[in-house]
């Protein structure tokens, strides 16, 4: 009755780790290799593993395609908004120096925000692509 027992149990064990590793890559792009793009793909890979083991229908309930379409656009909007915020705070478009009192922490914040935007968009687009292709 329960056939792929080993796969199921190991997947349950490893999926949270993959997702957390994705977040780690997302937020440590400043210090080591990695960043939004890689993190988005790893995050999507965690959900893909879930879809492979527990079925696409279940995964689509966890993260519906509609939500993905919204978040995909939201990620890009976050990027664009970060740029606009630079203008509103008296700098140039995508100029992060004005985000904080000193340029270094401003740059840090700006990079964090746009990497987050990239990560959200990439993860959403990759998962949407997988949903579309994998649907029987």
């Amino acid at each position: 009755m329960e056939h792929h027992l080993v796969l199921r149990v190991i997947a349950k064990f490893i999926i949270p780790m993959i997702l957390l590793f994705a977040f780690y890559v997302q937020f440590h792009g400043d210090y080591g290799p990695g960043g939004g793009f890689q993190a988005g793909v790893i995050f999507a890979a965690g959900f893909i593993l879930h879809a492979l083991i527990f079925g696409l229908d279940h995964t689509r309930k966890v993260l519906p395609p509609v939500v993905l379409r919204v978040t995909g656009a939201l990620g890009l909007l976050l990027y664009l908004g970060t740029g606009l915020a630079g203008i509103l705070l008296g700098g140039n478009y995508l100029d992060y120096n004005v985000f904080a009192a000193d340029p270094i922490s401003g740059q840090h914040l700006g990079i964090l925000l746009i990497e987050m935007g990239v990560g959200i968009t990439v993860a959403s687009v990759m998962l949407s692509l997988f949903y579309i292709f994998a649907q029987p």
Binding site: I10, K12, P16, L19, F23, Y24, F27, F54, V62
Partner: protein, 162 residues
């Protein structure tokens, strides 16, 4: 079944994983880490991956640690045995398929057993059918050693009765 303890324990272990990976302990990154852990636990609950299978907190701690050490010893012995068979000029193998009985009561115990079998070179678990594990062994001796059930008893020991 109550899943709160599992979620809590998963959150703690994920937080530990974050701290081990990160190496940067500023307020910003710790806050981001906390947010990430909470988000992953939330997603895990939605994905139905947080339960006694995905996060076996019912296993006894000390026997588990002891079992890892024992397994390491077994892995080294098995590796040397398989290496000898690979290098022997006339291939010294006698592939055998056997069914091994597993006395574990929970699925996690069975999975640990099956993966331990696979992890020791010379034996590979091919499928699990209720309490029988189909094993492919490189040599008849390896299959016989597995049939004695020493590993099986070790794993049954780390299962808490529940």
């Amino acid at each position: 079944m109550n899943k709160i303890p599992h979620a809590l324990s998963l959150g703690i272990s994920l937080a530990l994983l974050w701290l081990l990976l990160s190496g940067h302990y500023t307020v910003l990154l710790l806050a981001l880490g906390l947010g990430s852990v909470l988000l992953v636990v939330y997603l895990g609950r939605r994905m139905d991956v947080i339960d006694h299978e995905g996060h076996p907190i019912h296993l006894k701690f000390k026997p588990t640690l002891f079992y890892w050490v024992w397994l390491l010893k077994e892995i080294i012995i098995a590796n040397i045995d398989v290496s000898r068979r690979i290098l022997s000029l006339r291939s010294d193998i006698s592939p055998t398929v056997v069914k091994v009985k597993s006395s574990q009561k929970t699925t996690v115990g069975r999975v640990i057993y099956a993966n331990s079998i696979t992890l020791t070179p010379g034996t590979v678990s091919m499928s699990i059918d209720d309490d029988l594990i189909l094993v492919h062994a490189l040599s008849a001796e390896g299959a016989a050693a597995l049939d004695e059930g020493k590993m099986d008893r070790h794993i049954s020991m780390i299962e808490e009765d529940y």
